[in-house]
Symmetry: C2
Subunit: 409 residues, 2 copies
């Protein structure tokens, strides 16, 4: 248990020197003097993004204007961007479509799944899904006259299933604790009951390898580990077997089979395209696509290996500090984050940020640290752990200025 | 009828010299060698936008990262941006919220309005609404088990109303013909029947003064006359009297009363904020807000006066060409566009674009010209009219290369 004392900064620097994916760090802008452990909330800015966005503004929009819907591929952005995301979740071309916010996408997936299971009144949802998932489930249940059956993270999912369940919405990686669900097992269990499985991949996309094969629907965001930028478009995955029958309840013209015929009746486009709705926010797509160029060069197994090593290192360096670990201790069961419980978690995190270690706080008592393997170094983890140790041992968080609440995201 | 022969380019230049809002042209990037008559489709790039977007990328995202949700006002963008749009439609602070695409916003407005009129099964919609409006109405009618009663542009709206009608969705300005509806009269008629009135303001926002007072809901886009950029966020207007009872069916966390308490149950924010859903696409908002800085300096009465003068000039210069005018001849009844019918409208427009006059084509036979008063000059109108005369008189559109269909937006 005292192994942490044998870990040195020099040892961590040696790990960085031997890191097979260390070069990716140069792809990112990282502010001086901080250790950024919020890649699970807002991914860092890729160096290539500014030029790509500027090109979209000045050349595509400014000079080519509306012709860019064709010449710059604006019209097809939801599909082309989706196809670039697909390999990161084990999906194929034509199975993923980018667009809208994550919460709008949850609504689209839920509505489509419910319509495919008309006789079944129940939506099963995890109380530890991100709140927006829960809120959207509540809105959809009210709108479409269904009931919600909530389960907890440790609940026996099998007990919640039955012939009355239409759809199950679960997160692959728990946003609070970082706990990972066994996707294949859960999907099989849900489908055996006749329900459809929707996965929320917000905290797994770009953090660990995902194999969505077999699931019915999935969705995720692109502004966390994928570095697509603040509020970058979300994505939806629709299993090929559902693409013909699944309907997009928000039936906008971008999902029409022949949008430029301006026909009076809605006719869904073949395939996943029907889940497009309105005009894509092109500048936000430009940023996302700049980052996806980087991700095309990434081997997710290397990302996962480093992610496990980084989180393991952080836990080894901090678990003697007397905090309660909220994240599974077995790396197989955790994503790319580490969360601790502390009754004064809020001022602890404020003090940490003041000292240059940027994690975040989630009520009531969680301090969260995300580890983005593409740009974090082992020495960063070492420094962050040391700072956390100092904040706790010197009780720096007791300073009054850290008690005052700010709005935190 | 031969008055057009007395209009000279020098005379148009004199009109430009006397134009009280001619300085605004300098605010925009306009490609050399073209007359851009597509501001009704995609507004031109404001000069200040590139720097504003670059700042959002490199400073707000790159350096300040997640802190920008507070320090750069990212979290409040839907509200602050909405409040800047509000004066352009005659609305007050707290009545307009930016966000999502126009089609998603139509869905949100429809769902909210239908829920406020539960016993009434019918949605009235104009067959000449933009197709996406019609498609979204069809999807919402199916999802919420309502019927659609379609009316034409010349139909007697009164005959379509009755105690079975829950909501009426109409466009203030017809996207094809530019015909303007009398907003106050129609709203009063609809409300007298007990139905709720939703206005689509896509083709009027920034094109002519709008007084939304009295309506129930409205929505519009910001990428046409407002120059917000391709796919810039749409907006929704919710009358103050409905803000307490109206629900957002897509109940995401950005519309929650206390989003950072992460409560399990959805509790709508007070006011129009509840119509927010997910994370705003910040880079697209940056572009939109750059443009709205310009619009804060604009007097819409001057815009309207110049719009009428420009469209009147164009019609006077072209009505002798033998085309059928689809736009009302009386300027009181038209927006800021002129549309003509031509059986070979598609190749006519291709030839025009090839000669530097950028309008667009709408099936089956409309050629459309939009007149954005902030950056168009009278000489531009003169040149465009002359080019149209040349294309028609010399039958340039008969060239085979203009017959081939491209995707057009």
């Amino acid at each position: 248990m005292m192994g942490y004392m044998s870990i040195t900064r020099a040892g961590c620097a040696a790990l960085d020197a031997a890191d097979p994916i260390s070069d990716f760090r140069d792809e990112f802008v990282l502010p001086d003097g901080i250790v950024y452990l919020l890649g699970n909330s807002l991914g860092a800015l890729p160096r290539r993004t500014a030029a790509r966005v500027a090109h979209a503004v000045t050349a595509e929009w400014g000079q080519d204007l509306g012709a860019s819907w064709n010449t710059a591929g604006w019209w097809d952005l939801p599909q082309t961007t989706g196809d670039r995301i697909a390999p990161l979740i084990g999906a194929g071309p034509g199975e993923v479509l980018a667009g809208d916010s994550t919460s709008v996408t949850i609504f689209k997936a839920l509505a489509a799944a419910l319509a495919l299971r008309p006789g079944r009144p129940v939506i099963v949802s995890d109380v530890e899904n991100f709140p927006s998932d829960q809120y959207v489930v509540q809105g959809a249940a009210q709108a479409f006259d269904r009931e919600i059956r909530e389960i907890g993270p440790d609940a026996d999912l099998a007990n919640a299933l039955g012939p009355d369940v239409a759809v199950v919405l679960l997160s692959h990686v728990n946003y609070r604790t970082g706990a990972v669900r066994n996707m294949a097992e859960v999907t099989a269990l849900v489908q055996a009951s006749g329900a459809l499985m929707i996965w929320d991949l917000c905290h797994s996309t770009g953090a660990l390898p995902v194999d969505i094969t077999g699931a019915d629907f999935a969705l995720g965001c692109t502004y966390k580990y994928l570095n697509g930028g603040p509020g970058a478009p979300a994505y939806i995955y629709v299993a090929p077997r559902h693409q013909k029958a699944a309907r997009n309840v928000i039936s906008g013209w971008h999902g029409h089979a022949s949008p430029f015929d301006f026909e009076p009746g809605y006719e869904p486009a073949p395939g996943v395209r029907r889940f497009a709705v309105g005009s894509p926010p092109v500048l936000s797509y430009a940023a996302l696509n700049a980052s996806l160029e980087i991700w095309e060069k990434v081997d997710m197994r290397s990302v996962r290996a480093k992610s496990v090593a980084l989180t393991e290192l952080f836990i080894e360096l901090t678990e003697h500090l007397g905090l309660e670990l909220a994240t599974p201790r077995d790396p197989v069961e955790r994503g790319s984050q580490v969360s601790y419980r502390h009754p004064d978690g809020y001022p602890v995190m404020r003090a940490l940020i003041d000292m240059g270690v940027h994690g975040d706080f989630r009520a009531p008592d969680l301090i969260r640290f995300g580890f983005a393997p593409l740009y974090l170094r082992y020495v960063d983890v070492y420094d962050a752990a040391n700072t956390l140790a100092e904040v706790l041992s010197k009780e720096l968080w007791r300073e009054p200025r850290y008690q005052r609440r700010l709005t935190v995201t």
